[in-house]
Amino acid sequence: MTPAHATNEIPGTVIFDGAEAQKGYALNKMCYSFNSAGNRLAFKHNEEAYCRAYGLTPEQCDAVRRRDVLALVRGGGNVYYVAKLTGIFGLGVQDIGAQQTGVTVEEFRARLAAAGG
């Protein structure tokens, strides 16, 4: 098996590079703050104020409000940090996988299991 050394984009995939890291810095910094239980509580108390305090763009604030993971990723969110935010909403990696691919969690899990076939 010799994977091609293609330079074209990989479908459905964001490479979190310098451009993304700059675009998403404030969003990721907010998410990183959720390593602290106190900060998670403060966010839950007033989401809008918390997002504003970290200087998120209106688009990023809207993505947070809608719990829209694809929009968070497109807004420069790195999934390792974004997972700390979605965890507050009670969403695990299978929930966000299902949400991003437009299927139910059961369908997403079945798809993962089928990959072992």
Partner: protein
């Protein structure tokens, strides 16, 4: 002189930590996964290492994007785990081995790997879950650890070839350590998985099995790959395979495959396990410093 005893490569999925915390290892979902570990635990009980070099990637516990080292080496007497934000229980501290850490740092920088040194370093699930898996009985953990963190968060990431070369330098550093100790290298991460984007849920069994085969006898088939190749074939988070290549580099040359296992899925990930013995490896007969 220190002896490099072997290397273990294992997945580090957080859900494993939750299964251990909840005691659900024997449930049907988990049984096939956990059943693959006893042979590795038995080998570890036999070789009984004095030190363990943990090659892993931090997921936003110790490092943030404000300062993101490509390679970081811990140099602390102990390493704390902490809240990662999404509910994994925080584990008690892990003992370090500062003397071995500083030897590795000296030798790696001498070998032109300009690592970041960390006298305080929080270790996340990628460090803690494999230790829980490999040494479930805390009282048996008499070894000190040296964490080696590789950036897999923010591109550019170090290439597979670079990580293999880092591993070779770690192996040489262990060989030249003057203490009479046994050392095991553990690499954590992978195998194929992708958590983000429309391609979330991507798993590539064919590629994973190719890696499990090639890493044993032909690792250079994998070091020829680019990071972009790895993202395409193994997923955005499947690039963690670079930690495995570092561990394989530490054993450079011929190795003996003692155990391997592959299981789909654990959470969103293909779980892999590989135990490589250093039996085929030429141990140096003179201090490494003479050869530098």
């Amino acid at each position: 002189m220190a002896r490099l005893l072997g290397a273990i490569c294992t997945s580090h999925i957080p859900a494993i930590g939750n299964a251990i915390a909840r005691g659900t290892e024997r449930e049907p979902y988990w049984k096939p996964f956990f059943e693959s570990y006893p042979p590795v635990r038995e080998w570890l009980a036999k070789v009984d290492p004095d030190a363990v070099v943990m090659i892993y990637n931090d997921h936003g516990l110790n490092f943030f994007l404000d300062k993101m080292p490509t390679f970081a080496v811990g140099a602390a007497p102990e390493y704390l785990n902490d809240d990662e934000g999404w509910g994994l229980p925080t584990l008690p501290p892990f003992r370090g081995d500062p003397k071995l850490s500083w030897h590795l740092i000296e030798q790696l920088v001498h070998d032109e790997f300009d690592v970041t040194t960390c006298q305080e370093m929080l270790v996340d699930h990628a460090f803690t879950v494999p230790i829980s898996l490999l040494w479930p009985d805390r009282s048996k953990r008499r070894f000190g650890t040296v964490p080696v963190a590789i950036n897999t968060v923010q591109h550019p990431l170090p290439s597979p070839a670079r990580c293999y070369a880092l591993g070779k330098a770690i192996g040489r550093a262990i060989d030249s350590y003057p203490e009479d100790i046994g050392v095991v290298v553990v690499a954590t991460g992978g195998m194929s998985h992708q958590l983000d984007g429309e391609r979330a849920g991507f798993i590539n069994k064919e590629f994973d099995l190719h890696c499990l085969e090639k890493i044993v006898d032909d690792p250079h088939a994998l070091t020829e790959l680019s990071i972009r190749d790895l993202v395409r074939e193994a997923g955005t988070q499947g690039v963690e395979l670079i930690t495995w290549l570092a561990a394989r580099g530490a054993l450079d040359g011929k190795v003996t495959k003692l155990h391997s296992h592959y299981h789909i899925p654990v959470s969103n990930t293909a779980a892999g396990l590989l135990l490589l013995g250093a039996s085929g490896r030429a141990q140096p007969t003179r201090p490494q410093s003479a050869a530098l």
